[in-house]
Symmetry: C2
Subunit: 456 residues, 2 copies
């Protein structure tokens, strides 16, 4: 670990730092389970069943993406990314973290309508010119209904605008199977791969994140390099040398031993708001499971909660400080700020602020909040980034992906499926009148018809 | 209640609707506590100690705000609102909900830098012209450190830009006391009031929300009218006739009787994302308390969780469906969508979507998700808005404010203070070297110096 590395400081998550009850002995007692879990993850990666672990080495897709970005005409001023969930959150977090807070007027804009809410998509399409727009449609399976609906709307918009589909539409999907793959192949669309062994929420280091990042002009080689450096640290079998192991073990132990199922992700950086949202999906969808590995009903899973400092000191910290001791907070700190702005000195009541910098104030607030929580036995850990650039962000993505995989092992569940959303999908297909889902349609009608009346 | 009214449908929060365990008898058993709590809230309002209840009738501030907005020069193209927490979340939710998804290029822009992160504020000030900018600084107490720091930066920016402070800076603060009030009075700045008996998180119907709304050209009289109609419904002492009473009782009972402390706010509308964030502060800061009314240590409070449908079906719903049964979900549905966009018909795998509308798809997804949750005994309620306009939004704001006040009574805590953030403030003042906080400075240094080393 060099001075340039991401550092996880967990003094305030331990009993001797914050009196929160988690002892060194308890942490050490989890080391064998951690080591077994990690070895299983590494074996799955080695066996080609778990693809995210190897993504930092994937230079082929990186080169494809970079070539495409450098060849794209300057006449394309707007990129519209069609995708939802894992096809949206990672790329969005990346573009938000590495871009300027307020883009210069001549910068290429990247839009994430995300939701199938027509309010946003319709507004966006009215504001854009199809001739100057590239749409990137992302769906691993190709079957995601919201993305499919958006795609149909955008395709019509391109046709109405008289532009050729294959110059303005790019697909990112499974290399071999699925509806979007066949559409891309049939129409000869330019396409990029999400490897079959990489799930949507672990896909930010595939073209799902790399393509929008490259189109925005960010250092995607650096992103993968930083992720690779973190990956190597996360492969260490000694718990106290493995940042992902420590992050996973702390969360699982605070949950299991101390009744803390609420896991707060609270970067002190506006630029990492999207990262907190990305983490919410990763943690919630991976760890919230009905069955354990032995198919026993466990209905387990922590609840991730997004927050941003200092903003949420004025919204959620009252609850974190005084409510139930059911939370573990992860702060993210930038050791070098993204920007600075000196606070001018003025006579009068605010004089004490003069001579400080806004960035310094933000850092003081983070330290004060962590210490105030610890003073009442409320634990936290802090991930320190040397600065917020592409390598650090790549490391930060990989750290929590690896922590999620290891936490899945410690919880004893499969972190890589999401069976719970199937019923809702089936009922929605029924309402849409999709062929083959007639029984779902009658199920919904029957359910709604027989509901008791409770309303006010 | 007319057809035009907001409707709370809670069939799926009751045992006979979803098998979630909450019976009619349990709900009725809470009615006396509800009635006592409501009468206390009404008495506090009547006695002038609880100001939010009377805000829908406050036409004086409305007229001041409207007059200011109509007189403001068209040369002002950008409004920068300086405020954080309760001084930001409500106005932001309002501007987001009533504005277009993508603003036309000639519309007046309203910016909420919010956080003291220089990345955003610095970027914003670089992009704006001080001559065409109005800054609105909001702080009830005038002492909020992040807002004070932003104010000093913006004042310097105005001075550097050669513009007169009193033409470009407006204050919203306590009518009588506080640092911001004295600054405004000393310099003759235009100012608006947050009544002394209205707390920040209950202030959206004061100039805190009304001024940005009026400056954006929205119907603020309609907002208050809708809030007033809801207020009258929320004054009814029969639990089953009182929407706020039902919302409060359901949340408290699912928490107390069924171990559901996680309260999800999930509008199926991108335009209500800001509303969900506003609710998080309102619920967390009001109900997360260490002491009850008898000063006993209770460390209570539910954890609010923001979500947006359909987006979070691809992020959080897996956890809601399969994880612990510790959640109650509140959906918000728009009976008439904000926008429509027909999904074109195309031959091929996505043909089943043709002929539907994006708005219809969103509504199907909401119904399917609620029913899927209920099918496994996971409760939800749905707030139906006839449409998303100013009156409906006013009603929606007031509904949850009243529900919060009543929930505070049912939890037996004071919903209107926030003592838990004082320690963090004191430590931050110490780090800033503020006079009078020297002991806090040494406290932080001592704490950090003696921390055990746990890092990786």
């Amino acid at each position: 670990m060099t001075d340039d590395a991401i550092r996880v400081d967990y003094a305030l998550a331990m009993d001797d730092g914050s009196g929160c009850g988690l002892t060194n002995a308890q942490l050490e007692a989890e080391a064998p389970a951690f080591e077994r879990g990690l070895r299983r993850v590494l074996a799955e990666a080695e066996g080609g069943r778990l693809g995210f672990w190897g993504l930092p080495d994937d230079t082929i897709d990186l080169e494809k993406v970079q070539a495409f970005a450098s060849e794209l005409s300057d006449a394309v001023t707007d990129i519209v990314v069609l995708g939802i969930g894992g096809s949206s959150l990672g790329g969005r977090a990346l573009v938000e973290a590495l871009g300027p807070a307020v883009a210069p007027p001549d910068a290429r804009r990247i839009h994430y309508p995300d939701n199938s809410d027509p309010w946003r998509l319709d507004g966006l399409l009215r504001a854009l010119d199809p001739k100057a727009t590239l749409a990137v449609v992302i769906s691993k399976s190709g079957g995601t209904v919201e993305t499919a609906a958006q795609l149909l709307v955008v395709r019509q918009w391109f046709r109405d605008g008289g532009v050729a589909m294959k110059d303005h539409l790019v697909a990112i999907t499974d290399p071999e199977s699925g509806l979007l793959r066949s559409l891309a192949d049939t129409e000869g669309l330019r396409s990029f791969d999400i490897p079959s062994n990489v799930g949507g929420r672990f896909s930010v280091l595939t073209p799902v994140g790399l393509l929008p990042g490259a189109l925005a002009g960010f250092d995607m080689a650096g992103l993968l390099k930083g992720a690779g450096a973190m990956r190597d640290r996360c492969a260490r079998t000694v718990l106290k040398e493995n940042p992902a192991g420590i992050v996973a073990a702390l969360h699982v132990l605070h949950h299991r031993l101390h009744g803390r199922p609420i896991h707060v992700m609270m970067p002190y950086s506006d630029a990492l708001r999207g990262y907190a949202n990305w983490f919410v999906q990763l943690w919630a969808e991976s760890l919230g499971k009905r069955l354990d590995r032995q198919e026993r009903v466990v209905e387990t899973g922590p609840t991730p909660l997004p927050a941003v400092g200092a903003t949420d000191q004025h919204a959620q910290v009252q609850l974190f400080m005084e409510g139930p001791k059911d939370k573990l907070v992860t702060f993210v700190a930038l050791d070098q700020p993204l920007a600075k702005r000196a606070i001018p000195t003025e006579e009068g009541p605010y004089a004490y602020l003069g001579g400080h910098d806004l960035a310094e104030l933000l850092d003081y607030e983070r330290r004060a909040t962590a210490l105030a929580l610890a003073g009442d036995g409320r634990p936290s850990l802090t991930i320190h980034l040397p600065r917020l650039d592409a390598p650090a962000l790549g490391g930060l993505f990989f750290l929590m992906e690896a922590a999620t995989a290891i936490a899945g092992e410690l919880y004893g569940i499969d972190a890589f499926d999401q069976p719970g959303v199937e019923l809702g999908k089936r009922l929605a297909y029924g309402l849409l009148g999709r062929k083959g889902y007639e029984d779902a349609a009658s199920e919904v009608q029957e359910l709604e018809r027989t509901l008791p009346r409770h309303r006010v």
